[in-house]
């Protein structure tokens, strides 16, 4: 085997109330592509931030080659030859390709005029090396997403990067563009660059990676395993398989209840085809799938944020048209707890009370349209208490609270709104065990009180402990339903079969058409 280019030895990172990473060891070898897998909240992004100098490990060591390194800031990592191409673009849109690539060079006299012609000359060989026919003088904002990504790789290489991290590089690329990217990565591998490839698309990972590490709940679930020893189902097992007991929950009998929300042959502009499902009052229906399966997009469509191209949505048996989240909440009494609580679920700069009360401002305003503070308090405080939100006061900024407490507040605001249908998207990602248990208990109580709950989660144990029925989605299509027997082993087996089966079919179809 080739030499190790970068290594983490038993690194751990703790945040208040959460162990984000524990004793994680990975080895990246020169001339090799290492895959990093894991579901949301497994600790992938924390690990990347440790390797790129954004965070410092609380325990453990980092080695670049044989030498131990300490990164205090991102620039230290760059200086040590570690580069990263992030999911979000990190280029200055109005600057030229060449100038973007030159940024970050430390040996620049701040007052000496820039020689753009020279920058272009310097950029050219790196662009050529990646096989890019881009004019280095062109503005980055005129490039396609795929080209920007290539420019970021070129930039990293021009900074003498020997260890390159790629964080979901294909998330917004077309298949052809992805293939072009893989060609480049293969060439870099031949040149001895060590790469880490983070992706949720297992086919890609199998195609281009040599070794793989899997994170699950912040610990190594698989450490530096050669890819050729693994099949897709092994990867899925490593990502979601768990030996833990599922708490026994009382069975609900919801079949007698009326259907609160039904989707009939729904097709959407996101790419869903003929999705049919129903959720009864007092029932928790789970929607399982790997990331990118189209679950969040389905929720957004129900909330009026996506366009229907076919089929219909029925609420209490009557067809409805939902045009916006406001419409969904006030007219149809459907609530949505977003997976992305920081950007979509909460206003971090506002107080606990303001966040929890936001959904009921309309209804708690008195006849003159005035908002009475005591009115809002009366309606929200019981829910905040019930969720055991830990906050010094109701006026504390939500941004200052822990992830678990933030999620409780995001949930409380929908409870206060008194919705009949609640869609919950990844409710416990990144929060501590105790808060998780509270949230689970709460969802059960809600269902017992007659709320119809559609639960989206990638956490299979959570799904099995909460859901009455589990629907499996893959590639924007519902693949089938699994009755919940609470037997984890059997459940995970049949869920995996649904997903695995679908991709096999797809492959066969592709092979047939090719």
């Amino acid at each position: 085997m080739t030499e190790i280019a970068f290594e983490t030895r038993s690194v751990s990172k703790f945040f208040p109330g959460v162990k984000a990473l524990q004793n994680v060891s990975i080895q990246m070898r020169s001339g090799s592509i290492h895959a990093l897998l894991g579901e949301n909240g497994a600790g992938k992004s924390t690990l990347i931030k440790l390797i790129t100098g954004v965070y410092r490990p609380d325990e453990g060591q980092l080695f670049a080659g044989a030498q131990e390194v300490h990164f205090n800031r991102p620039h230290d990592a760059i200086a040590a030859g570690v580069g990263v191409v992030h999911q979000e673009r990190n280029l200055i849109p109005r600057f030229s390709v060449a100038e973007n690539m030159a940024m970050g060079q430390t040996t620049i006299d701040p007052l000496k005029p820039i020689d753009f012609r020279r920058l272009n000359e310097l950029a050219e060989p790196w662009l050529d090396m990646l096989g890019l026919s881009i004019d280095p003088a062109i503005q980055v904002s005129r490039l396609s997403v795929a080209q920007m990504q290539m420019v970021e790789i070129a930039k990293a290489l021009s900074q003498r990067t020997r260890v390159l991290l790629l964080d979901e590089p294909t998330a917004s690329l077309t298949p052809t563009e992805s293939q072009a990217l893989f060609d480049v990565l293969h060439r870099l591998r031949a040149d001895g660059v060590s790469m880490m490839f983070v992706s949720h698309k297992l086919e890609e990972v199998q195609e281009i990676c040599d070794t793989v590490s899997v994170l699950r709940d912040g610990v190594n679930a698989g450490e530096n395993i050669p890819m050729r020893d693994l099949q897709r189902k092994d990867l899925i097992r490593l990502m979601i398989g768990r030996d833990e007991t599922i708490p026994e929950a009382r069975r609900r009998q919801a079949s007698a209840q009326s259907v609160a929300l039904e989707l009939r042959d729904l097709s959407t502009s996101f790419g869903h085809r003929n999705v049919s499902l129903d959720v009864r009052r007092g029932e928790i229906v789970g929607l399982y799938g790997l990331i990118g399966a189209g679950r969040t997009e389905l929720a957004k469509t129900i909330m009026g944020l996506g366009a229907l191209t076919g089929g219909e949505i029925l609420r209490d048996g009557a067809p409805v048209t939902i045009t916006s989240p406001t419409d969904a909440l006030h007219r149809h009494r459907i609530g949505y707890v977003s997976e992305n609580r920081k950007d979509e679920g909460l206003i971090l700069d506002h107080s606990v009370l303001e966040n929890a009360g936001i959904t009921i401002w309309r209804r708690s305003a008195n006849r003159l349209g005035w908002l009475s503070r005591s009115g809002v308090r009366m309606r929200t405080v019981p829910f905040l208490d019930r969720l055991a939100v830990k906050t010094p006061s109701l006026h504390q900024k939500v941004g200052n609270l822990s992830g678990g407490n933030q999620q409780k507040i995001a949930m409380a605001k929908w409870l206060a709104a008194g919705v009949d249908v609640l869609i919950v998207d990844e409710p416990t990602v990144g929060i501590d065990v105790k808060s998780k248990a509270y949230l689970h208990q709460l969802l059960r109580e809600l269902a017992d009180d007659g709320t119809a709950v559609l639960l989206i989660t990638s956490d299979l144990p959570e799904m099995i402990s909460l859901a009455d029925r589990i629907l499996v989605m893959d590639e924007f299509i519902l693949k089938g339903a699994v009755a919940n027997t609470r037997d984890y082993k059997a459940m995970s087996q049949s869920v995996m079969e649904h997903i695995h089966h679908s991709t096999d079919e797809l492959r066969q179809a592709q092979a047939a058409s090719a």
Partner: protein, 319 residues
């Protein structure tokens, strides 16, 4: 690389400015009279500096509400030093620029160090600078301005070209070079364009913010000094009406308020457009108070045009 003239940032503002000039002179040939052009160019010389002092802050994606208060403070310091202490104009001018630099440094350090929004900080310093101004002047103008300064502010080189056009033009050229060629100038645009990325590339955001505000202060002070020379007195009210103008010209010139994109040349044409319209209202005997209304409408029109352009850029097929 040959760039099409009409693709450049300033082509549209230039065409608009020329069209407006042409229209006005068609309806009223007096517009082209030497004296009229001189008044126009005097206004442009000073307003360009005001607009640039805001533009450097727009470049980093912030705003500076204190440009008028700081420029006014520098103006009364300039006039006061000459009247009360009898300092020679050059020394008084240098010290007044120093006041602008110090005020800008104060803004920049507060914003850069605390991370509090520039809007709030400069709102507070606006009040501080204006208060200092009134404390120095007791709200009375300084009348004793040396003749040399008066003639500097009111005589022409030749034809309609005022002397004060020279410092303004020099500063414009320096700013063009600064934003296009000098690393520090590029850092301003980088921080405004994508602060996170700039920081990852090793650019200090704090330092860049401080530099921008210092520059803004010096530009505001230079506008104040030129205005004292032109008005021939140190008015304590100098700067009170700069704010809208300071934003209007860069915006008309296509600057993006969230930062990262400004054009010095387009801003100059923005100033020219505003000055021409202001003068047209006078030539056509329209109530001068209407200028404010027109200025507001022009800002709205410019923002709307920018929005349209961005939408079209987004929809355009990418190469």
């Amino acid at each position: 690389m040959t760039r099409n003239l009409f693709q450049s940032d300033w082509a549209t503002p230039m065409l608009v400015a020329l069209t407006i000039g042409l229209l006005i002179s068609l309806f009223n040939p007096a517009f082209l009279a030497t004296f009229n052009l001189q008044v126009l160019l005097e206004a442009v010389s000073i307003n360009v500096l005001i607009a640039l002092s805001q533009m450097v802050i727009i470049a980093i994606g912030q705003m500076n509400l204190s440009v008028g208060a700081l420029g006014g403070l520098a103006a009364v310091v300039f006039a006061g030093l000459m009247e009360v202490f009898g300092l020679p104009p050059a020394l008084a001018g240098a010290l007044a620029l120093g006041v602008g630099l110090a005020g800008g440094l104060f803004n920049g350090v507060l914003i850069g160090m605390t991370g509090i929004s520039a809007f709030v900080i400069t709102l507070a310093t606006l009040s501080i600078f204006k208060g200092l101004n009134l404390a120095i002047t007791q709200a009375q103008p300084f009348y004793e301005i040396p003749d040399a300064v008066k003639s500097f502010g009111n005589e022409t080189l030749f034809g309609p070209f005022p002397i004060i056009l020279v410092p303004a033009a020099v500063i414009v050229v320096l700013m063009v070079v600064f934003f296009n060629r000098i690393p520090v100038g590029r850092w301003l645009l980088a921080v405004g364009g994508n602060a996170h990325s700039a920081e990852l590339s090793g650019i200090s955001i704090t330092r860049t913010v401080i530099v921008a505000h210092c520059l803004s202060g010096v530009l505001a002070a230079s506008a104040g000094i030129l205005l004292v020379a032109r008005l021939q007195l140190g008015q304590p009210t100098i700067g009170d009406d700069w704010l809208i103008m300071s934003f209007a010209a860069p915006i008309i010139g296509g600057a993006i308020l969230s930062g990262g994109h400004v054009s010095t040349v387009a801003t100059v044409f923005g100033v020219l457009i505003v000055a021409q319209i202001t003068q047209a209202l006078v030539l056509f005997h329209i109530d001068p108070f209407f200028v404010q209304v027109v200025l507001g409408l022009m800002i709205l029109a410019a923002v709307g045009a920018n929005q349209l352009r961005d939408l079209r850029l987004q929809r355009a097929p990418q190469e």
